[in-house]
Symmetry: C2
């Protein structure tokens, strides 16, 4: 399976990205994704206790209307989180206004917000965004993907066409996310649409499986957002029914690849990031142990600053593993690093550093993408996370975010 | 109880700090703390799975010789961690050499190391350090405290004399630590000595209690060291026996105050730190919940960069609390900030931001020390941690630490 080099329109879906004044300098800041017909819709949402109003609205709406969603409205500049009753009313008012403009019921509209926590949505601007976006609905996915960016430096989108013996269908997704990214949850905003036909339960299962192996495995700073949401909308307009188990399995695999592409681009574009690093934990006693160690390494500021400096300071990696709160035997562990497609360089084994060539290590750490593998030699548990380095720019971006 | 403004010598203890080439530029890098007579000794050690050789040696030695310790040797520049069998041999060789020079058994000597993980101790320099330090033993606590610094910008020491009806005794402690500081463990190196007389079990209990409320409550980057150790040595030379419960309780209280002073100075001097922030969690369902939320806030890079920027971005504090992995009710929570000794400014209540005066919030966040209080209004659980902000200098210091 290979993702498309270009972004493909999806039958029956129209999109738009516009500027309505939520951001300054006339930057794109509001997006709509609309289906001509009701969609089977699945969602995964942040597990943060402090959930933004659009998350609360979306979770509730998918309990009752997951077979009938027609539109998703996404605003930047304001997260509509920690905004109390007024925030919930504004989320509902946004959905209602979108519904009225499109001639669909308000319950068929979902909303997503991203930006500063704790400020109320400027509803005048939101209404303006809705008007502008509805007037512009079409196939411009790139502009739509740009309109959901916050501190992202690049827009993220991916697309694939799948041939089946019943015909072909398409999946296209957009995502945003650069900070407040942590593993073990839906870690950003993403909307994925397809014209394949499947059932609600199947869509939810497919999205959860794909999410678990991709968006849930990226970390920028270990901070979890109040707004994280991934949605999958399937409108069936291709006429290709994939609800049989063979086609469904294929769909899950392809959806996972597409989500992996979006997730890796989020990690690569982490706030201030200059490097994408994959952390593999192999042969752990069990999967949970592997995951906890991967997370500890992937979120460690000391590890991430060493990645930034290009310093193969492997002691920090072992120290982070050792504080993950799960047991392993340091004397059995083998730590290695490698370029993508390159040869592994062992840095640590038998409880101590190896006599590795520091220049080879430096060369690997100088790559924009590389792999760190910690083999615990204890069992068959495995986990992998993508992380990025932590740079001066991370501090610059986040020390004055609201200013 | 008020700590002394000057550092007081402690009867029967001699100390020295010297430069033996472990650091460049003839910087102080090796220290000795020696007692004329055997000491009752207590220790708390890192809970990291990957323990440095001196930690392994110290933990074992205190099982058998906790009533007979005569000396502690501390080197910087090399952590002697992840150094395998050779590292353990070097730790033992250091203790043995110190013992020979001082004419005491090697089992009466403890060692501490701090610095880069994964390199072997340069034993030639260590032997030179021992020779120089033994020749210089005296009352120069300030030089000794400086000789254990790594990325610290200031040496940390504290001293107190306690009057009892049996006479007076003194407690003096030194500490180092600036990075790889995390809560919930002994988070750095510290040696505390006293000429009071108490039993081994009492010393261990006293140190654990003091440590729990102080060193275990500071966080710089959430990373836990392989080398963290706090030692308490009591040689009884004042002749003041404090093993009765009244005197012992007083001792625990005073030791806690002394450790709090050292701990706060570590947090204040966190790598790149410009601010010391105390995070209070009050009225939590229980103590553990309070502590988990305090830790999540205190280690959040997004919160710490906002502290650095002086930006009262309280949404990040609520978002960090919400991902702590413990339940609470956001609608009941009240978040406030205040200057030391100042009036609380409520930022968040009833599930949303208050109409607080942003200039007042900015003024509080501009202080070099301030307090953040999250009242969960759910029970009687309480926790408090000290943290610092995260600045560009944190990145600079840690991206090229080994270079």
């Amino acid at each position: 399976m290979k993702l498309s080099d270009t972004i493909l329109p999806v039958k029956g879906f129209r999109v738009a990205g516009v500027a309505c004044g939520l951001k300054s300098d006339n930057l794109l800041d509001f997006a709509l994704v609309v289906s001509d017909v009701p969609c089977v819709t699945a969602g995964v949402f942040t597990t943060n206790i402090v959930k933004a109003a659009p998350v609360l609205l979306g979770m509730e709406r998918l309990q009752h209307h997951s077979d009938a969603i027609r539109a998703v409205a996404i605003n930047t500049g304001c997260a509509n989180a920690a905004t109390g009753e007024q925030g919930l009313q504004n989320a509902h008012a946004t959905a209602k206004a979108v519904g009225e403009k499109l001639g669909v019921d308000e319950h068929q509209v979902l909303v997503m917000s991203t930006g500063v926590i704790g400020t109320q949505l400027p509803m005048g601007k939101i209404h303006r965004g809705i008007d502008l976006a509805v007037a512009k609905l079409g196939d411009d996915w790139a502009t739509t993907a740009k309109a959901i960016m916050t501190t992202d430096t690049a827009h993220k989108m991916a697309s694939v066409t799948v041939e089946t013996d019943k015909g072909s269908y398409t999946i296209t997704g957009i995502a945003k996310g650069a900070g407040m990214i942590a593993p073990n949850m839906a870690t950003m905003l993403s909307v994925i649409v397809t014209d394949a036909k499947l059932a609600v339960g199947q869509a939810q299962m497919a999205l959860q499986q794909a999410n678990e192996a991709t968006f849930n495995c990226i970390t920028v700073d270990g901070d979890m957002s109040t707004n994280d949401t991934v949605l999958l909308l399937a409108n069936g307009e291709s006429g290709v029914d994939i609800s049989n188990s063979r086609d469904l399995n294929e769909f899950v695999g392809i959806l996972t690849s597409l989500c992996e592409n979006l997730a890796k681009n989020i990690a690569r574009d982490g706030e201030g990031a200059t490097k994408l690093v994959q952390i593999h934990i192999t042969n752990a006693p069990d999967k949970l142990t592997a995951r906890k160690i991967a997370d500890a390494i992937g979120t460690s500021p000391l590890v991430k600053t060493a990645f930034y400096g290009g310093d193969a300071n492997w002691g920090r990696i072992m120290a982070a593993a050792g504080r993950a709160g799960v047991p392993f035997e340091p004397n059995k562990a083998v730590l290695s690093i490698e370029k993508i497609g390159g040869k592994a360089l062992i840095l640590f084994a038998n409880g101590t550093g190896t006599n590795y060539d520091e220049s080879v290590a430096k060369d690997i750490f100088a790559q924009s993408e590389f792999v760190v593998t910690l083999n615990l030699n204890m069992g068959r548990g495995y986990a992998s996370v993508w992380t990025c380095d932590m740079s001066h720019d991370y501090i610059s971006i986040n020390s004055h975010y609201r200013s």
